[in-house]
Amino acid sequence: MKKNSFYLLVAAVAFIEVGIFWWSVESASPLPSLVAVLFGIAFVYVARMYIDEVVIDERAEKIIGITSLRTLQITWIGLFLFALWVVIEALNEELNNYNRRVGIVGFRLMAILCGIILLYVILSLYYDRKFGAS
């Protein structure tokens, strides 16, 4: 398969996903949408193996690695600042039901961000061992 054919296939999958999402909303059932996303990702992943041309080489992998890390760092800092702002705003106001809910959302977001750090540490330990650390 040519690289451009693969991109057309990805676009077709994206259109189908949007259609299923629409149908999911109409039928008020999130399950088809979730299953479709999982199948779509698996389909694109398998289809990528059948591209004749080289798409991912060591330079592309390096670019993906650095880009992913920077995206994670920027997103983490941005979301943490947002969560901090939300929590402080919620606690500063008179504590009514709305503010309590907003504060809980902020705290939950902070907990998710801490979870991301934990996941990062676990994965970095795993890859550290995989690539030679005793």
Binding site: E53, V54, V55, D57, E58, R59, A60
Partner: protein
């Protein structure tokens, strides 16, 4: 790190696309190597050297190594 990929590619009458296909990388990688914007891994350097039938140090030159040679020539 400097390299002579462009020279050996010209000697062998290859386009960037041809070399990329033979080595198993993208054309952009060959372009980046020739423009010295990307340093290859040892594996890729070895693959390129083997393709041209040369040693790695005949194709890839570490900049610091170039200086002593220049100084020797000046003497």
């Amino acid at each position: 790190m400097n390299n002579r990929i462009k020279v050996f590619r010209a000697i062998n009458n290859l386009t960037q696309e041809d070399l990329a296909r033979e080595i198993g990388v993208t054309r952009q990688t060959i372009l980046a190597l020739e423009n010295r914007q990307y340093d290859p891994s040892l594996l890729l350097a070895a693959r390129i050297a083997r393709y041209f039938g040369k040693r790695i140090d005949e194709i890839f030159i570490i900049e610091d190594e170039e200086e002593p040679d220049t100084r020797r020539n000046k003497k």
